[in-house]
């Protein structure tokens, strides 16, 4: 517990920064309620037409379903690959571990636009041989998203493995458990929180991925962020404001529940 508290000047500056951080999120609320067909502040009357158009316009629903499908598949791929890799690192501690982990983390460190050009090269090359798996296909997008999310999944699983007591694995080994039994019945049950977090984070990162997706899709694989991008670039569609409000509310709810659960687990009185 820090006893040295921030003074009044610090508090005022922090409040200004907090307002700066929250302001654009609050600004979308009035825009989403405008009766106008263009981006404008409502003058007088409020309308829910932009929320209705989210339900009535089939493009939104289609892109949401596509984003969910890509998110689930890419999250499954990256979680399984990251889990196997991390188990290999933790159980066998091979030589060159640092180099190999560094290599796996590359897509996280390299500027996203360069990864985007790289994956564009990959998928256009695949497209020359196969038409359902390559540029502008949902499988191609799912694979590209796996490349981008697998470093994050690996970091999370490696971190939860690093907190595991090696002696339980040594005990299992001493009692004659095979590698498979050690992995699935001793280690994995102890890091299941980390595995689930890795899968969720991979899904969320894929769900909101736009930088790479822009380079590898054109007209067929329109994910939700891609559709938002199209509505933002041309003439701004207030339906995006309605969608943004919904996404912001979901984020706030999830964070509130998470912070409540964390507080309960730590035995702190939840506020």
């Amino acid at each position: 517990m820090p006893t040295y508290r921030p003074g009044p000047v610090s508090l005022i500056l922090a409040v200004l920064v907090a307002l700066f951080l929250l302001l654009p999120l609050l600004a979308v609320i009035p825009v989403s309620l405008t009766p106008s067909r263009m981006l404008a502040m409502p003058t007088g009357e409020l309308s829910l037409r932009h929320y209705r158009s989210l339900i009535e316009d089939p493009r939104w629903l289609q892109s949401i379903l596509l984003s969910v499908r890509i998110g689930v598949v890419s999250s499954a791929i990256s979680t399984v690959l990251a889990l196997c890799f991390s188990l290999g690192v933790w159980m066998f501690q091979p030589r060159f571990t640092a180099t190999l982990v560094g290599f796996v983390l590359l897509p996280m460190v390299v500027p996203p636009v360069v990864s985007a050009v790289t994956l564009y090269f990959l998928l256009t090359s695949i497209s020359r041989v196969s038409s359902f798996f390559g540029y502008d296909t949902w499988l191609g997008v799912a694979m590209a998203h796996s490349v981008m999310t697998v470093p994050f999944a690996t970091v999370l699983i490696l971190v939860s493995l690093s907190q595991l007591d090696r002696r339980i694995d040594l005990a299992a080994r001493g009692l004659g458990a095979s590698v498979w039994e050690r992995a699935t019945r001793v280690i994995m049950p102890n890091i299941k929180f980390g595995i689930v977090t890795a899968a969720l984070l991979s899904f969320v990162l894929s769900w909101e991925e736009i930088g790479v997706t822009l380079f590898i899709t054109s007209v067929n694989a329109i994910t939700l962020p891609r559709l938002m991008w199209m509505g933002l670039r041309d003439n701004i569609d207030p339906a995006i404001a309605a969608l943004s409000v919904i996404l912001i509310i979901i984020t706030v709810l999830v964070l509130a529940v998470r912070s409540f659960v964390v507080r309960l687990r730590r035995g702190i009185e939840p506020l």
């Binding site: 920064v17 290999g88 066998f92 796996v104 460190v109 360069v114 090359s125 690996t154 933002l232």
Partner: protein, 277 residues
């Protein structure tokens, strides 16, 4: 125990799938991009020469460095102000600060850029309000220029700047602060001469992260710059999709990776990686 044949087999079997996946889906196509930069449209170093002579490319590089520098200074300063409260405030203050940092952090870059469009555009919140109180007659140009890009990027990067700072502030020994105060130093003086110098590694780490992120930023400048304040990433996109000149796009990508790699190497010589998250 270590290094028996079956152990090496086990490690190889478990680690191979991911390594193979990334070699095929990342390393190999990256080499392909490098090849593009040397072979398209004609084999040779022509694209790299163009980088050094083309006025447009040069002006984009300079603009990117300038924007990245401004965004770095502003984001780190703003992040510092809110991190102080997040780390050292009362429990209620800390909860509010955490909420203000994490909610934007988890919201998609598109939603956040759109929020700034809603605030800053000609028919947006700020211009509508200023006109309604009669302060201005014509809307101010707040987006589709460098100002909008800097505001949007700063907003995006503040949460990323917070984490290294928080880690540095958590690890400092607060008895030093109490000692300084006990010896009669004012609040201001304690802050500037004791607190800030002790968080130096956090400041360096957070500045490096923000700077490196800014260099390759695509979405926010493309939306808030409205095509008028193009940065490197958008230039790569334009070279590949609008004026198909894949060689130049690839060459810019290679230069960007080399530059960022050099910066990271510099960073890791000064800051331990564990201080970055």
């Amino acid at each position: 125990m270590r290094g028996t044949l079956s152990d090496r087999m086990g490690a190889a079997l478990l680690m191979a799938p991911l390594l193979l996946f990334l070699v095929l889906a990342y390393a190999w196509p990256f080499l392909g991009v490098v090849k593009w930069s040397f072979t398209l449209p004609t084999p040779g170093l022509g694209q790299y020469q163009a980088l050094l002579t083309d006025d447009l490319v040069q002006s984009v590089f300079i603009r990117t460095l300038r924007i990245a520098a401004i965004v770095t200074v502003v984001s780190v300063a703003a992040a510092y102000a809110i991190t102080v409260v997040w780390v050292r405030g009362s429990p209620a203050q800390r909860l509010i600060a955490e909420f203000c940092i994490l909610v934007p952090f988890w919201i998609s870059v598109l939603t956040r850029a759109f929020g700034w469009v809603a605030l800053l555009s000609n028919r947006g919140l700020i211009n509508t309000w200023l006109q309604s109180i009669g302060f201005i007659s014509e809307p101010l140009a707040l987006v589709r220029n460098e100002f909008g890009v800097i505001v949007g990027m700063t907003h995006f990067l503040i949460p990323f700047a917070v984490f290294p700072l928080a880690s540095a502030m958590r690890s400092l020994d607060e008895r030093v602060l109490l000692a300084a105060r006990g010896l009669g130093s004012s609040r201001m003086r304690t802050f500037w001469t004791v607190f800030v110098p002790m968080t130096r590694s956090g400041i360096i780490g957070s500045a490096m992260i923000v700077f490196v992120f800014s260099l390759g930023f695509f979405v926010t400048p493309a939306i808030l710059g409205g095509g008028r304040s193009v940065m490197i990433a958008e230039l790569i996109y334009l070279r590949i999709f609008q004026s198909p000149d894949w060689g130049l796009g690839a060459a810019i990508s290679v230069v960007l990776v080399v530059f960022v790699g050099a910066l990271m190497a510099l960073l890791f010589r000064h800051v331990k990686p564990k201080h970055l998250v």
